[in-house]
């Protein structure tokens, strides 16, 4: 069925979108770790490439369904060709916007891009009533909420972390005592997040009890033991940084895994839609996504990380010298926790947006030496532009496709 030119074309587009996700997003998720010097750009590329693929292939299935039918009402579309051209238009719209954003280094949400693309063709085809507006309202809410909540949370975490570890009379002693606590806490979040975001479990309580707590306790014990035996007894701040450096490798690895699991859907959701329709007709809309399409998406992301993301991480590694490991840890930890709580509350929240918010939060807590306010402004503007721009590009392409082939 790949022989079908439309299917073949969408697969190519899906790969392009996956590539753009790898180039833009995956690099963003690892930036704090690379910037803080916890991992080298080479290691980041390797970790991100492998884990993004793993996340996409093994855990990417259920999110893909939302992208396929959550944004617009597919039952209003009777002509299978519309779904095919629409998916192509949405993919192209999102990819073009993502490539532009990546070129200017703007951390925009890939999820928002593809949502924009889908809404764009949906409106052209059936007017505004086809759009699930309550879902759209939530998306818009997430533009505003993600960075604000991320900033507030990171502010508090950094204040607490610096009160307990950095600011004490005897930083070495308190670092020994408190670091395992903070690291354990981070792993409670990682464990719970793994259940919710990667395994797509529904109950936060189960995730918390079965994954979060055990992971956290084990990490707490292991870290305490390691710190008892060997602690870099140098400068107290360097010592604390050295501990958090190792933890950051794990937190960023986790981010890559979760990112692959969630964002692969943005690239291959439309591909899956086209594939099932081309092979099984409109009835096929209910058929689950075939595994090999997930693999393709994962591969696309990994290639994006390796080809473009590599360059991104290299510049990040060279240029951000101001970010220390405790700060990087605070940002990762805060972003992960906020995203977790938001998913639990059923609010769509963008990881990328939350990370940017967290960076500002640490800055406001007097933790980062200088943040460029102008860039913050550019980033926020780019968020508000994402859905409309991807939507307009998609709408134009859809219109053209319908005129030419439809």
């Amino acid at each position: 069925m790949i022989a079908d030119p439309w299917v073949f074309f969408t697969i190519i587009l899906g790969l392009a979108m996956a590539w753009a996700i790898g180039a833009n997003d995956a690099a963003n998720s690892m930036s704090t770790a690379v910037g803080a010097g916890a991992i080298t750009p080479k290691q980041a590329v390797l970790i991100a490439g492998v884990l993004e693929f793993t996340g996409a292939y093994f855990f990417g299935k259920s999110v893909t369904e939302t992208i396929r039918k959550g944004i617009i009402d597919p039952s209003r579309i009777n002509d299978p060709n519309v779904l095919i051209y629409g998916s192509i238009a949405a993919l192209l719209g999102a990819t073009i916007w993502l490539i532009i954003a990546t070129k200017y280094g703007l951390p925009v949400s890939t999820t928002h891009s593809i949502i924009g693309g889908i809404v764009g063709y949906g409106i052209v085809y059936a007017g505004t009533s086809i759009v699930n507006w309550s879902k759209m309202a939530k998306v818009v809410m997430s533009w505003i909420l993600s960075p604000i909540v991320g900033a507030i949370f990171a502010f508090l975490v950094f204040k607490a972390l610096s009160k307990t570890v950095l600011q004490s009379k005897n930083p070495i002693k308190s670092a020994k005592r408190w670091s395992p606590f903070w690291i354990g806490l981070a792993f409670v979040v990682i464990g719970t997040m793994f259940y919710i975001k990667v395994l797509h479990g529904k109950s936060l309580v189960i995730g918390f009890l079965k994954f979060g707590i055990p992971t956290g306790v084990v990490t707490f014990v292991i870290t305490s033991l390691i710190l008892r035996v060997r602690f870099p007894n140098v400068d107290p701040y360097l010592g604390a940084e050295a501990i958090f450096k190792r933890v950051q490798v794990m937190t960023s690895g986790y981010v890559a895994l979760a990112h692959g699991a969630n964002d692969v859907a943005n690239a291959i959701g439309p591909v899956a839609a086209v594939y099932t329709i081309a092979t099984m007709g409109m009835a096929g809309a209910k058929v689950p996504v075939p595994r090999w399409i997930l693999a393709l998406g994962g591969l696309g992301i990994a290639i994006g990380v390796a080809t473009y993301g590599y360059r991104v991480m290299e510049t990040v590694g060279k240029k951000i010298t101001e970010l220390t490991n405790t700060r990087g840890f605070t940002i990762d930890f805060s972003a992960a926790t906020v995203v977790l709580i938001a998913s639990w509350l059923g609010m769509p929240i963008s990881t990328t947006h939350t990370v940017v918010g967290a960076v500002i939060g640490v800055g406001l807590a007097r933790g980062i030496k200088a943040i460029n306010k102008d860039i913050v402004k550019d980033i926020v503007i780019s968020w508000f532009v994402t859905v409309p721009t991807a939507g307009i590009i998609s709408a134009v392409i859809f219109k053209v496709l319908m005129l030419i082939v439809g």
Partner: protein, 222 residues
């Protein structure tokens, strides 16, 4: 270009530390010039005095670059105006050293008692202390930020500021003593004017160091 590299602007503290380093060099070079001056070695002394002038230029250039980069576009853990005021004061330390060097250059032959020369040398040595303490103070300020404004590190910073104030009052004392010495020693008006100006510019070094320290104190309270 990636956004993360642009989001994190360059820290103003590193160039401030760099600037302080040059200021220390300027004052150290001046001290060498003073030694040669006291020995009456005018030709050698000239080389060092000119070097002081050159180093002051270097400090000026760093100051200009810093001023252009510390704009209101930045979100910083300390107030922008405090940074700029501090930089201004730190730069004045080098300026004062240059003023002394200039005075050293304008007169070849001097006829002052050894006592007066010794006092000037003493003031020179204390000035280096002040400049070095300023360097330490700005480095410590970087650590204060690094520690997330920890009380222990702020305490250390206060300690350095106090030392700067001590040096300043010590130089003030030496300055007064020198004035007495010059005015009661029946020096020629030209020699008197000359020595008193060297003393004035030397005590300026520690005055400005003290002003810089004041600014650091303000930086720590928000």
């Amino acid at each position: 270009m990636q956004v993360w590299t642009k989001l994190f602007a360059k820290s103003p503290f590193k160039p401030l530390i760099k600037h302080a380093e040059v200021v220390v060099q300027t004052v150290e070079t001046l001290e060498k010039a003073l030694d040669l001056w006291a020995q009456g070695n005018y030709e050698e002394m000239k080389k060092y005095a000119i070097e002081v002038d050159r180093l002051e230029d270097v400090a000026d250039r760093i100051k200009m670059e810093l001023r252009n980069s510390v704009t209101s576009k930045l979100l910083m853990p300390v107030q922008r105006t405090d940074i700029l005021e501090y930089l201004h004061m730190q730069d004045k330390v080098a300026d004062a050293a240059e003023d002394t060097a200039k005075w050293l250059l304008v007169k070849k032959e001097i006829n002052v008692p050894q006592e007066v020369k010794d006092l000037i040398l003493k003031m020179g040595r204390e000035s280096i202390k002040a400049a070095k303490l300023v360097y330490e103070a700005i480095r410590q300020m970087d650590t204060v930020v690094e520690s997330g404004f920890s009380d222990a590190e702020i305490e250390k910073e206060y300690e350095i500021i106090k030392q700067i104030e001590d040096v300043e009052s010590k130089i003030d004392g030496l300055d007064t003593k020198l004035m007495e010495l010059v005015l009661n020693n029946n020096l020629s008006w030209a020699d008197g004017l000359y020595i008193l100006n060297i003393a004035r510019t030397l005590s300026n070094i520690s005055d400005k160091a003290k002003d810089a320290a004041e600014r650091i104190r303000i930086m720590m309270n928000k």
